[in-house]
Subunit: 333 residues, 4 copies
């Protein structure tokens, strides 16, 4: 029998995420110059940024804070009714914080924390982006002119946090998971749409709670992702995991650290789940030990590093994690 | 106010299409050798074929017939309840034909014709594909080994027929349309998911009814689509429209004729519609006259040719439509 | 018997080209903002521009002039001795103009005109590019940081002029040509290296002499070329020929007009000629009438338009040439 | 001062390589089914195989032998005169073995061994490939129809052996090298053309002599190389190094073992050296320790494994080298 909900989800997609940074100037330069995002709005300690392909005004709220990490994840509902249904379920769970008035670009939102401590907001009313003259596209079905700056990310793709009431209470569909021999689930990939994942939970092997694992942005092609890697090398962005292909969901990945230490990913891929009764794929520890799609093993920091770091440091892990620690220096073809 | 339905759709996706061919051997060779599809089953006058990325057993039912054209389009519902809801709406419209027992790979289906005469089937129960040993993939989240033969199409992508109760009765979402100055709608792109289109209606300028415009298959990358064009040239497949980029939905296209004359497309692109309240994009005649995304004008046969041809011929239009008819022969750089 | 010279050529490659423009500000903005080139030097009425992958200081000298067109093409010799050998052959042909002192970035050059009137310069001494701090690459085998601006062209690729002593006197190798049934040669692709062409001659069907057909710049991948087309559309750059694949040399093309009316190409492809005794490929008129690699016919202006225009106009041909002139407006899928 | 020869080289390109295999059936299936090569000829214990883009009849001679490794490398000269010049230099070096009558597809060849013991043959007379009907391409400037089977490799690209009279006696141009702090050169990349490398020498840290490091085949695009990795995974081909980008020469790589244990590479990239007076790039041990272009460290076996293996084994190193040995099993995102 399938774990799929009997009906399509009430929630439509991740509308934006709020990222916290103790180094706001450096982080802002990173997202504008190297990720190629546009500043859509500024208010208080926050800058609202957008990828060129987002219909909503922004997909990232970058907020100055004492510690790095995830401020909150905002999810848009399919309708006012769908929103009410989900809020009722959350309130019943006892984890709800209540309604807030809204924020730049969207209407009233219901705020809550998941059992691991990650903050979320749900809303329905969402402004649509209106580009200024210099960003108006020639094709009317694109929200904004494609910028030729940095990695030119298109839109926020998914949020990776560290642990699941997303499926039961929020109605996410579980597509893939890792289950150890002792039955412990250490990773889960969930989505609201046919896209292969929008929310990822992973076990935090460093013992943290409510931390950010990574935020991911989408580009249209693998070539753009490979080009982003060249760009990051030229700009001394620490690369945690060089471009390769995930086993889970079959997407390409490129993981780097933004200046304040948050892990961010550039991703692409077209692994659609059309099956309404999809059986989640369960990977065992032995299967995962074979590495990613092409056999590349995952770097150890992937299981232990999150933001905010448990030791209170600011900035990327130092020394910058190398991808394969134990290789002799000398010669290499 | 948006034309979007207040709730997510009851129907999940196009499960398969039935294509009719008076030249069954030639058409079969085309889909196996040049599109790279696998034969999953044969029964009666039909061969059931699949792209490597389809979770269901097949996406194409190829059936011998006196005339080319579309047999029917099969759509899978999200649940038994969702199926019942839609069947009730269709019966109320007076266009229903009634239940059939099912077919290879799926359970009971409700059959009907849209007002233009295209046949459809709706069902929920769908077998899941089990690959034979030689096609078993190494990664368990892929239904079948990727074949290295022909264009290696991944899955059926969309069906293009000729005119719309899809939106009202079936619950498709309208994403883009062409509306002439006199108010006549001559094209409409509709979807059940965030994918930019799954069902396309276009006005039949040749005066036909219920004809097939084209069937489209998805590949993951633009490079695969460009490679498919090389392949088709080497095998004398008549190319109606060489690779270029659509204005509508921003996907790449490559249109060719299979041996019996049906128009088939290889397509790719990642233009997702995440907005639950998307305002359909309306293109005017003047805007369309500017051509596709990069200015390439559409070939005239695109507005007049469909299958079955009105003149009763079998095979691709002859002389094979050239893409730009009025250019001097001689020299060309 | 082959037309190939018995020995490798004395000349190494096209070092730069000088392009003339009556609209210097607009042309400069085009090459910096949209082609993504860097200004390396300015002197008199000229700006010296470079692609990110050029070892020499610049590949384009953009010079203000009353008329558009090609100023000259500069070719670097393999050695001082090789330079002397070729100069002796040119002097014997009676077409030599004599030595000039050099220019920014290179030493003494021998100037001459080919029989059709195109100016050339040959030299050996060439400065090597030293990037300023902000353009220094992280990998020491790349001359400059890859810029993320516009089409990010890598280097000048080839020069297309309008007619051949290049082979006999300069030692170019002839790789492909078009020969009409009456024996007239109307196109020729020549190279100094394994790269498929560096110098192209085409018959000028408008009756001009010594005009520029086009200048081409290389990008590394087809995806970059497709992306450049999107960029040009967004910036209203008139596209003469949308991205497609050449039959000759198998490269991808994208032809546009820069603001003063010169035709410029973005190209890529890896069709290497390793055969030292290569037999030139001869295309007949009938073969060429089949169109480019994927059947796209060439736009008529390609045979008649060059710079400077014979009618004295400045700027791209108006109305901007559409790619397929005779298609009804209305509806288009 | 440059290390470049004052004149273009006498030798044109690597015409083919002979690979030895103790498992001839398995190796043959690998090259036909997974690399997508065609059998052009069979004779004695050898099968002659070709990539679709080779003008010569074959680029690989696969020969049954007791041990794996490199039989010989065959290089074509620019002309009969050039061949004589190089043979005279080799004879003067005392390493010449003398003339042989030729082999299938080419004329008389001069055989010799380099100081490390690798066998070479030089010749000028080379047959040109004539495709059978079913492999005849539609475009006359391509030697053979592009096959849609396996990785569809285009042509042999380069030979990697283990140490340098190639530069002095054969006239190769040195483009890049690794020089340790103690002055020892441990790697050298050499070419006869603008292509970034055709012959690579690396120090054999396992103490072997005359062994094969790897043979490389070219594909046109990075997408084809990524697709080849998917294919190899599906067919259990041991991947030694997953797709990533070289620092040296900027090409993409994918290293695998063919069944008898020889290391073979799929490569692509368009890093051309146009500078006739190129200064070889010298990498230090510290620079190399930073890893490849995107920071990926090289696997240790790259410095120690060659064929034939010193321990006499047949087949890929067992256990198949994993790419990053010291990572915990369990969970991985």
């Amino acid at each position: 029998m399938s774990d799929m909900p009997a009906a399509p989800p009430d929630l439509a997609h991740i509308a934006h995420a709020e990222l916290l940074t103790p180094l706001p100037d450096e982080s802002l330069r990173f997202f504008t110059d190297l990720f190629g995002m546009e500043i859509e709005h500024q208010e208080g300690q926050s800058v609202y940024l957008r990828g060129w392909g987002e219909y909503q005004p922004y997909g990232l709220k970058l907020t100055e804070a004492r510690r790095s990490g995830l401020g909150h994840t905002a999810i848009r509902a399919w309708s006012p009714e769908a929103l009410k249904r989900r809020v009722a379920l959350i309130e019943a769970s006892g984890l709800g914080d209540g309604w807030i008035e809204g924020d730049h670009g969207h209407g009233p939102a219901y705020r809550f924390r998941d059992p691991d401590g990650h903050a979320f907001e749900l809303f329905y009313e969402q402004d649509r982006y209106v580009p200024p003259e210099h960003l108006r596209p020639r094709l009317k079905n694109v929200p904004q002119r494609h910028v030729d700056r940095g990695a030119s990310v298109k839109r926020i793709d998914h949020v990776g946090a560290n642990r699941a009431f997303a499926q039961d209470v929020l109605g996410f569909r579980l597509y893939e998971q890792i289950v150890l021999d002792n039955g412990e689930e250490t990773g889960a990939w969930m989505s609201l749409t046919i896209a292969a994942h929008e929310l990822i939970y992973t076990a935090d092997h460093a013992g943290g709670h409510g931390r950010l694992h990574h935020l991911a942005w989408f580009v249209d092609t693998r070539e753009e992702l490979l080009r982003a890697a060249d760009l990051f090398v030229d700009h001394d962005v620490p690369i945690e995991a060089a471009p390769s292909k995930h086993a889970v969901a079959q997407g390409m990945f490129l993981y780097v650290y933004e200046p304040s230490g948050n892990r961010v990913e550039v991703t692409t891929g077209t692994h659609f789940i059309y099956d309404p009764a999809y059986e989640p794929v369960r990977w065992t520890a032995a299967e995962r030990a074979r590495g990613q799609a092409w056999g590349v093993k995952t770097i150890e920091t992937f299981h232990t590093y999150g933001t905010p770091p448990l030791d209170g440091t600011v900035g990327p892990p130092i020394p910058p994690t190398s991808q394969i620690p134990n290789i002799e220096a000398a010669t290499t073809v």
